[in-house]
């Protein structure tokens, strides 16, 4: 099996599994006052401190959540409510149309049910949001509740310059949230130095468990909770801490950050060979997103493990099925609840037409990826695309 869908999820690291298993064997609610509770709390708080250190945050800025989706919802809705409650003119949310659905749907929900106005930011053809575009959208900022722009895009791998965007938002006193689910461990992310007010991350894209995430929230940022209860996480998030998941997330994140530089270089080299190999064998292939060697703010402008390609005249669905049947696992992008592929909103946002959006595949490499995985794709891609193109022609 050739697994090239690491942006969807990536295997749990052995050290994560060991740390979680050890913790799962113990009793103790970190909120309890007795010895078992204290032991659990110690593990959770150590994890908080180590995570904070790895990400350039203070421990008190680390809020544990149930994953990236929850963190995005909490940041977008919580910041919106808090800012609007403080000043009722602040109803505008300035947001990129290439965000993950956890952000887009939260924003649209607020617009539909809670009086929010949405300003969609213009996106560069690479998928990037520029500081100038943000500045123009903000105006004097007095009516803006928050900005949300992702650090790295999960489909086409575009990295934006978040420190510069946060600085622009702060020029007019507006807080900025960033979804850094795909960025942490792949590109340099320093929460404190970046100046962003809230940052989403999740465990299962880094070798940690699913259902465990973090919202990094600046100490001075007001955020209304989504989940009410015991107030465990700074009163912004309630629920008994899942200590095993927290340890797993922490070990995964600190490992990913520590090993980032050599891994990024290795994955970028593999990815470059994959893209070049496909293009050499198959005519009419387009790379979506920034160039492979793109640079932004002195760092990589594209996620090192991301290859996103359009195969004119073939349907992504058909390509995926044919590759799956040959043991190569990848993705077409977004799918709706009934599993019907819709053209990716990210590709449409960067100006691709529906045909190009529908004819694309995403390959994402991760820590376990090797040359053999790239070879496996290159062995089958030409006949697969040819067959899918023939099947595509029959459609009206």
């Amino acid at each position: 099996m050739t697994y090239l869908d690491h942006a969807a999820t990536t295997p749990v690291l052995p050290e994560v599994l060991a740390a979680m298993t050890e913790q799962l064997g113990r009793v103790g609610n970190p909120s309890s006052l007795h010895a078992s509770g204290r032991a659990a709390r110690r593990v959770a708080e150590q994890s908080r401190e180590r995570l904070a250190e790895a990400l350039g945050a203070r421990p008190s800025e680390v809020l544990f959540t149930g994953g990236g989706t929850e963190s995005d919802n909490l940041a977008v809705k919580g910041l919106f409510w808090a800012r609007r409650d403080a000043d009722s003119r602040r109803r505008r949310i300035v947001v990129s149309p290439a965000e993950h659905h956890a952000v887009i749907d939260s924003v649209e929900w607020l617009a539909k049910h809670d009086g929010a106005d949405i300003t969609w930011l213009p996106v560069e053809p690479t998928g990037r949001i520029t500081p100038d575009a943000l500045r123009a959208a903000l105006g004097d900022g007095s009516d803006v509740a928050l900005v949300s722009v992702m650090w790295a895009n999960n489909e086409i791998g575009t990295v934006s310059d978040l420190p510069a965007l946060a600085a622009v938002a702060h020029e007019v006193g507006v807080p900025l949230h960033t979804d850094a689910v795909q960025a942490v461990g792949q590109v340099p992310v320093d929460f404190g130095a970046s100046g962003v007010d809230a940052l989403t991350m999740t465990g299962h894209k880094l070798g940690g468990p699913m259902g465990a995430g973090v919202l990094l929230l600046r100490r001075d940022a007001e955020c209304v909770p989504l989940l009410h209860g015991g107030g465990q996480e700074r009163d912004v998030r309630s629920g008994t801490l899942d200590v095993a998941a927290i340890v797993g997330l922490q070990v995964a994140a600190t490992t990913a950050v520590r090993t980032r530089v050599p891994r990024a270089a290795r994955l970028a080299a593999l990815r470059d060979r994959l893209v070049a190999g496909v293009m050499a064998q198959v005519p009419d292939v387009q790379l979506n997103g920034p160039p492979l060697d793109d640079v932004v703010a002195g760092g990589p402008g594209r996620l090192p493990g991301n290859a996103h390609l359009s195969f004119a005249g073939a349907e992504g669905d058909a390509l995926l099925m044919l590759l799956d049947a040959r043991g190569v696992e990848c993705s077409t992008g977004s799918a709706c609840s009934a599993g019907v592929a819709r053209p990716s909103h990210v590709l449409l946002a960067v100006g691709a037409d529906t045909d190009r959006a529908r004819s694309s595949l995403r390959f994402t490499l991760g820590s376990p990826s090797t040359d053999a995985d790239v070879d496996a794709v290159l062995d089958v891609i030409a006949p697969v695309v040819e067959r899918a193109r023939r099947a595509g022609l029959g459609r009206r």
Partner: protein, 357 residues
């Protein structure tokens, strides 16, 4: 063989896929998303292609350990089946959307795509026997679906596999239960899948609007009432005519004239039909020589009656019925069978009913 199993989320297609896997074929499941409204949810036993059905189909595929995908055919289904259905009613005819779906979607759009992608055939849960290119009635007469498959040509049948034709529905459910499939007890869908509430008249009224016209009694020539849309009637219909005539004898719809929107009704003795004219026929196998003695079934759940088949006008057929039939509606299919008690009645082909005498 590499088989593509069309999985609706119901018990029949689930068992068909399971049997194909157990027969050693390389099977991939697909659920056809046909409804333009993705969020349609099941209400009672009705409707298909809802989110829930897609889920049920996926669950079965996962249990069988086969790949599963959803193919979006909503656009083609809307054009070829739903819009056709509405246009046929608007023209005073009575279409059969299941037949149209088999003809244009399952064994055309889906089969073509499957073949292009390297599959050998499409396997479905239809109740009909198919062996060596011969399409026959199911052993379960009550569940037999050969009527809605009769439109398929030899080429289309060559790409079809129907594993359920030689078993009863009861057996199908038992096989599903034996395999622990959750759909074993799922209710059958009876209605037209794109009209989940079963209210065809209401659906057509929404699509076509009010189109009032007269109801005329053929016995007297008198206008005996008004209707709000001739599309609400089917030739042969007896109930729900909404008119009062002088005598107490039942009345039947005899004809629908779309331009003047006239619905003609009459007593039983005028409703009988002894002769049927069809459009140019399709054949499931070699074109038979005419004249021909066969049996003809004139609607989905009707019984077949003996008939003499001769060539009609414009490449169509002329069917002289052995016994008079009521409710022969233009737009329905006249399906010809060669009786065969042992192996199952053989489907010869069909022609769309154009008119009667």
């Amino acid at each position: 063989m590499r088989l593509l199993a069309a999985m609706s989320g119901g018990v029949d297609s689930a068992v068909a896929a399971a049997l194909a896997v157990e027969a050693g074929h390389d099977v991939t499941g697909v659920h056809l998303a046909l409804s333009p409204d993705r969020q349609v949810l099941r209400s009672g036993a009705r409707g298909c292609c809802s989110v829930e059905d897609a889920h049920d189909a996926r669950r079965v595929a996962d249990e069988l350990g086969i790949p599963f995908y959803v193919w979006d055919l909503a656009e083609r289904f809307t054009e070829d089946v739903v819009d056709d259905f509405v246009a046929e009613y608007a023209a005073g005819r009575t279409p059969n959307p299941c037949l149209r779906c088999n003809e244009k979607i399952k064994f055309a759009a889906v089969l073509d795509r499957a073949l292009a992608l390297g599959f050998d055939a499409v396997v479905t849960g239809h109740h009909a026997r198919l062996a060596d290119g011969a399409l026959r009635r199911s052993v379960d007469a009550a569940k037999d679906q050969s009527y809605v498959l009769a439109v398929l040509t030899a080429d289309q049948l060559a790409g079809a596999v129907f594993p359920l034709g030689s078993m009863t529905k009861e057996t199908v459910r038992a096989l599903a239960a034996e395999r622990g499939l959750a759909v074993a007890t799922k209710a059958d869908s009876h209605d037209i899948c794109f009209i989940p509430d079963g209210d065809t008249r209401g659906f057509l009224a929404r699509r076509l609007g009010a189109q009032p016209g007269p109801v005329v009694d053929a016995a007297t020539g008198a206008t005996v009432g008004e209707h709000s849309g001739a599309y609400g009637f089917t030739v042969g219909q007896r109930r729900g005519l909404g008119v009062a005539v002088g005598d107490s004898r039942p009345r039947y719809v005899l004809g629908i004239e779309p331009v003047s929107r006239t619905v003609t009704i009459g007593p039983a003795e005028l409703a009988g039909v002894g002769e049927v004219r069809t459009a140019p026929p399709t054949w499931t196998g070699p074109v038979p020589e005419l004249p021909l003695t066969a049996r003809v079934q004139l609607r989905a759940h009707g019984t077949a009656v003996p008939c003499e088949v001769t060539a009609g006008d414009g490449g169509g057929l002329r069917l002289v019925l052995g016994t008079e039939q009521r409710g022969v509606a233009p737009g329905q299919s006249a399906v010809l069978y060669a009786p065969d008690a042992e192996r199952g009645d053989l489907v010869l082909g069909q022609g769309t009913v154009l008119g009667t005498a």
